[in-house]
């Protein structure tokens, strides 16, 4: 053939490379296939991949501290926990501004709760101080007020701090008015005041939907004006609007009563002097933190490094370990109980096996809650099983067995609930093992046991593998049953995750616990692949 003798790539009849032609020919098919799976793909992306990615992100995400206290975090750069001293004035000054803004935005309690996970007491400290920062600032507002009534006039402030064009537009405008623009000159001359005013103006526009041109500014702006003026703000050369009032204020401020913020904070709460508290803020000031993961393995990120929690507080490692060994036990129990049933299913005549299959599937038609509750009725100390044992004289009335609200209860109930997930893959694999293998083995002289162990069992291993992976992965994340029959020592890590999601609202920790669980499953899956080989898993 001439094709075989030519050099270079094989060409199609029209002279184009054969590979390109083939790709073109297959493109339509590929597109159609993609279109067919697109709904599922999108569904999975939205409901499965995205939540997992979000969970992984949440487990390390920590920008609440740097978002809420940006100035404080910056000021804390110069402070070392190891120095053993309370941070200096600049840090408290920054904290005052941050906390004032956070309090206006009502974000300080959220931050307090977040930091409270790491250091108890911070929550109430922030809540308390958040109420009092307003008072701290009002000291200055009142004094400026006393100096000149104009300092309480919103329009005056707006004209002073706002861009002249903006102010012209904003005056008398409805609702929020045009977007606030700062007066560049003021920004140079009174930087902190300008910043505080801008925050106020933006907040007023965005949150309250009011026009800053007619709103009285926050006391924070007065406090900042005081700070700028005492720092020697360059207003001498200023001749624009309000120059007169500013000059007068500059002359007056040295006489103001002005406690430092540090003093003010300490007056609110002694804890502001706590090195631990500041150390915690600094330790969690990064955008990302390993803190949640450390918590999830009973460690803690403290100002002086990573510490192991005392044993009375360490719960998670124990829970992880318990979740894994109990899941393994449950998996093993389902193999033990499910194997003979699957064998019968695969080998009984059609009519009998159909009936048996219905019995196996029956639990699927019953609510999980009903089944779990049924186990409560059966297993409790005044329950059916204990009653029968006592009635039969096997147990004395005082010696009733404790079979529920402990690990045994969880194992029994979950083995029952997960049994079909073992039986079905086992059955589907066993159904494909031809009976002639067993006959061949017997004809070759093998006893029933040898035939089972050396011929039948190895061929059913893919079913055991598939069933085990299914049951184990379901078990490791099980939640309802352990919560209902597990008591305190029969609960799983997922119950703890649920607690953090719905009760303690520590989603970061819940995400970290979930991520570790996910990683554990993946590691086990990998180990399984190495030992048994994932090719050896068959669902039918």
């Amino acid at each position: 053939m001439s094709d075989a003798t030519q050099n270079g790539p094989m060409l199609a009849a029209d002279g184009r490379p054969l590979k390109a032609s083939l790709r073109r020919a297959l493109r339509r098919q590929k597109m159609r296939a993609l279109m067919l799976i697109a709904p599922l793909l999108i569904f999975i992306l939205i409901t499965f991949i995205a939540p997992i990615a979000d969970m992984l992100f949440r487990s390390v995400e920590n920008n609440i501290v740097s978002d809420t206290l940006p100035r404080t975090v910056e000021a804390l750069d110069d402070w070392e926990y190891a120095s053993g001293e309370t941070p200096g004035e600049p840090v408290f000054d920054a904290m005052f501004v941050d906390l004032f803004i956070a309090a206006e935005r009502k974000e300080h309690t959220r931050l307090g709760s977040r930091l409270n996970y790491q250091e108890t007491g911070i929550s109430s400290l922030f809540r308390q101080t958040g109420r009092d920062v307003e008072d701290m600032a009002e000291v200055y507002e009142d004094q400026f007020d006393a100096l000149n009534e104009i300092w309480r006039d919103g329009a005056f402030w707006a004209e002073l701090m706002g861009d002249p064009d903006w102010f012209a537009e904003a005056q008398g405008a409805e609702d929020a008015g045009p977007r606030f623009r700062i007066n560049d000159e003021m920004e140079d001359r009174l930087p902190r005041t300008a910043e505080a005013y801008r925050v106020f103006a933006r907040f007023t526009q965005n949150e309250d939907e009011d026009n800053p041109a007619s709103e009285r500014p926050w006391p924070l702006v007065h406090a900042m004006l005081y700070a700028d003026l005492t720092d020697g703000a360059a207003i001498d050369a200023y001749t624009g609007f309000g120059a007169e009032e500013l000059t007068a204020a500059k002359e007056a401020v040295p006489g103001f009563e002005a406690p430092t913020y540090r003093e003010a904070f300490l007056e609110v709460d002694e804890d502001w002097a706590s090195v631990e508290m500041w150390g915690t803020i600094k330790a969690y000031s990064g955008e990302f933190t390993s803190g949640y993961f450390l918590n999830a393995v009973d460690r803690e990120l403290t100002p002086h490094g990573i510490e192991t929690l005392p044993s009375d507080q360490s719960v998670y490692l124990k829970l992880f370990w318990r979740t894994i060994w109990m899941s393994l036990t449950i998996t093993f129990m389902t193999i033990l109980l499910g194997y003979p049933v699957a064998y019968l299913l695969a080998n009984l005549p059609m009519r009998k096996s159909s009936l048996l299959m219905i019995l196996v599937l029956l639990p699927f038609w019953t609510s999980l809650l009903v089944r779990t509750s049924a186990w409560k009725v059966l297993l409790q100390q005044q329950g059916v099983i204990n009653d029968i044992l006592v009635w039969a004289g096997i147990l004395s009335d005082s010696g009733r067995l404790v079979m529920i609200n402990n690990q045994l209860g969880t194992i029994i109930a979950m083995t029952h609930i997960l049994l079909p997930f073992m039986i079905l893959p086992l059955y589907s694999v066993m159904a494909t093992i031809p009976p002639s293998f067993v006959r061949a083995s017997k004809s070759l002289g093998a006893t029933n046991w040898t035939t089972f162990w050396r011929v039948y069992f190895p061929q059913s291993v893919p079913g055991i593998g598939a069933g085990s992976i299914l049951v184990f992965i379901l078990a490791i994340g099980y939640y309802i049953t352990p919560a209902l029959v597990g008591g305190t020592d029969g609960i799983f890590i997922s119950n703890r995750i649920a607690y953090h999601i719905s009760s303690s609202l520590n989603w970061g920790l819940a995400a970290a616990l979930g991520s570790i669980l996910l990683a554990a499953v993946l590691v086990l899956y990998w180990a399984y692949d190495r030992i048994v080989g994932i090719d050896n898993v068959k669902l039918g």
Binding site: S436, R439, A440, K442, S443, G445, R454
Partner: protein, 366 residues
């Protein structure tokens, strides 16, 4: 070559019956004696009971009534793994999770044979089927024919005296099947093993066996060496089932010793050899093999009856010509003629006269 003359009754079915549901008998009163070293084929259409007989012999089914004896001992109550019977299955039943070597070693291991002996025996068995170099392969890596050889080697490796084969060549293509037929008979005869072979392929049965038991409706219809079976079928089922056969229906007019006169349904009178017709007036099916029909008048025996025939179809098949005729109202009457230089090629629509030796024309039950 063993045959019925030297039959020492190595395997005996004594009035064996088998029923699965307690209502219908799958095997009805089976009596069969197989000699040591004999190659016996159970041939029959599906549902005729042949496989059930094999399974009873292997021990996978129990006889409802009667005894099965192996080497003089009744084996009804011996479990299959203690019978020491080699078996080759239709789908080979090679264990997919074991290599070829492990598959062959398996029957030796369960017999607790020492490792060195095992290796030697496995190697010998593999060499016997020319598969020595495949010892470390898995069954899935082998072709159908190769798997078949391994299955054969596995059934033979523990040196059983009796080997059962359940349609072992059914899944192979024609050429390979013919080759394996030869291999299996060669091995069976070389090793002197008694073989019971089940098939529904009559060519296979004829070419391989010492004797063939034709099964139908749970009974052995005829048990004879292949040549007897083909040339002297005892009833119309066997005549139909073995080889190609032309049937003409009619009524026996007269019995004259080993010749009878039959009046066909179309009114023609022919002579035939009575096989299982007893008296005049009985309905009969007259059976003639296609290759025994002659249309060249010079070759016809003096005094033989001839019939008029019309050529409906002439098929050139290389070595033979196959001609379909209308004879006495039967449009499926086929004759086969050898492709010899002087042979006449018949034309469609041609009117001819055909005839045969009365001895080749057998009057069977209707």
């Amino acid at each position: 070559m063993a045959n019925s003359d030297t039959n020492d009754g190595f395997v005996v079915f004594d009035r064996v019956q088998k029923s699965y549901d307690g209502e219908n008998l799958v095997v009805k009163d089976l009596n069969l004696s197989i000699g040591r070293g004999e190659f016996l084929t159970m041939l029959g259409p599906s549902g005729s009971g042949k496989t059930t007989c094999l399974m009873m012999l292997a021990g996978f089914e129990t006889a409802t009534h009667g005894d099965i004896l192996l080497g003089g001992q009744p084996i009804n109550n011996i479990p299959p793994h203690k019978r020491g019977i080699g078996m080759v299955f239709q789908n080979y039943a090679l264990f997919p999770h074991m290599t070829v070597g492990e598959n062959l070693s398996f029957p030796l291991e369960v017999r607790k044979i020492a490792k060195s002996d095992r290796e030697a025996k496995v190697k010998r068995a593999l060499d016997m089927v020319q598969m020595g170099s495949f010892i470390n392969r898995r069954p899935a890596q082998l072709s159908g024919g190769q798997q078949q050889r391994i299955a054969l080697a596995r059934a033979l490796v523990f040196e059983p005296e009796l080997v059962l084969m359940d349609e072992p060549l059914g899944a192979l293509d024609k050429q390979l099947r013919e080759h394996m037929q030869f291999e299996i008979t060669r091995l069976a005869h070389d090793l002197g093993i008694t073989t019971v072979y089940v098939t529904h392929d009559q060519t296979e049965a004829l070419t391989m066996s010492d004797r063939v038991a034709v099964f139908d409706d749970g009974r052995i219809q005829q048990l004879d060496p292949p040549d007897v079976l083909y040339e002297e079928p005892k009833n119309s089922f066997v005549a139909q089932f073995i080889g190609e056969n032309n049937t003409l229906e009619g009524v026996v007019k007269e019995m004259r010793g080993d010749v009878c006169t039959v009046e066909l349904d179309g009114g023609e009178i022919i002579d035939a050899k009575p096989v299982n017709v007893a008296e005049a007036g009985q309905r009969t099916k007259v059976s003639i093999r296609p290759e025994r029909v002659e249309y060249n008048k010079e070759r016809l025996q003096e005094g033989a009856h001839t019939l008029k025939a019309e050529v409906l179809e002439f098929i050139y098949m290389g070595d033979i010509f196959r001609t379909r005729l209308r004879v006495a109202g039967n449009e499926e009457f086929v004759i086969k003629t050898r492709n010899a230089p002087d042979q006449v090629k018949l034309q469609r629509g041609q009117q001819i006269e055909i005839g045969w030796l009365p001895g080749d024309c057998r009057a069977l039950d209707a």
